[in-house]
Symmetry: C2
Subunit: 242 residues, 2 copies
Amino acid sequence: MPKTAGILLIGNEILSGKVADANAVYLCRELRRLGVDVRRLVVIPDEVEPIAHEVAVQSRAYDYVFTSGGVGPTHDDVTIDGVARAMGVPVVREPRLVDLLRGFYRESLNEARLKMADVPEGAELVTADALVFPAIVMRNVYILPGVPEIFRQKFEALRERFRGEPFHLRNVFVSMSEGTLADFLNDLLQKYPDLLLGSYPEFSNPAYKVKVTLESRDPEYVSRALEDFLARLPRASVVRVE
Amino acid sequence: MPKTAGILLIGNEILSGKVADANAVYLCRELRRLGVDVRRLVVIPDEVEPIAHEVAVQSRAYDYVFTSGGVGPTHDDVTIDGVARAMGVPVVREPRLVDLLRGFYRESLNEARLKMADVPEGAELVTADALVFPAIVMRNVYILPGVPEIFRQKFEALRERFRGEPFHLRNVFVSMSEGTLADFLNDLLQKYPDLLLGSYPEFSNPAYKVKVTLESRDPEYVSRALEDFLARLPRASVVRVE
């Protein structure tokens, strides 16, 4: 069975428009490459209750859940509390993380920084050569930091865990407008009902009017659908096939 | 009472990492300027059931809901169906939209394009001088198109509806690391419990280590909190105040 995922971005700074998130676009693209179907992406504030609610919902619904943000030393870092509440477990201080923090901060290790050694009880610590601090995984929930550089570093260290059957994608750029194209798309879907078929109008690039995406996990299925689609389309309307 | 909002982006292309959404960042920033508190942003696929579920949840929870995407003429444009199902009403063809489409497309108006005249029964059509087609509003749900240029055009035409009491924001850039700063932030929150206080570490710009944001709808409250915060911080650690 293909795997599914949910993504949870935690941060008032995104909702208030102060910061444009960089992690979701990266993660959606990487998961797609790995063959994981991202079903839902949610952004909520730095508050324990909404985090707990959304983690509980996503953790039940999907194979993997990824959280981004809210794991630093300050008052607004409450992701660990939220995940623990979602799972109905207490937050505990993890001695291996305390040791790592002590080695890193030495005499400037204080109570605020020690908060970064707190995990939901039962969490797994995933170590990798590239990581100074391990990634924290609570059941199917991967708790990642919001800082993009570290977010990517941690995801890269974990990525082979998520590899599955890939999607096969073909793009067709057409000079026909979407309203005329719609009948061709409907015909195609009747014959290939399992095709993932997308239609994206382009208004700023004069080279084409619509980008059509054909996708499936079965490469033969996509090839046959593409051939069929191209045979039906008026030849002059096909700008490019990728 | 300050107003709240939820945002719902509808699009497989975002979840599969093909396209980076441009509407959410714009909308979050504009709503913040207007004084609206965005509580939740969700991205889901082009499927009627998830759309209906999320619209129902957000429509009950927030003052305003904004949807982006899924309103064109093709098979994957199912937002209107989703909103109608969320509200428990049928989809009906709106004669005023049919007339507008006929004027626009003339002899190339076909059934696919006529789909763009469908609305949830009871929807309001909001016209404005700048708009060729009116914006569709169903109760507190503003149904906006995904194409960024048109999304913005429609929102601009509506924006004064949403104006409320604004947020007042001050930024303090400090050279102290977050782990040391945490105690100062906690002290500040004890004295100003209603302050919206954010702390954002910076790893790529050597000019400062953390950006601290102080916000409230009461400008006096922010001023007093800022003064207090600056008086407590070691002077040498304050890089800049905005």
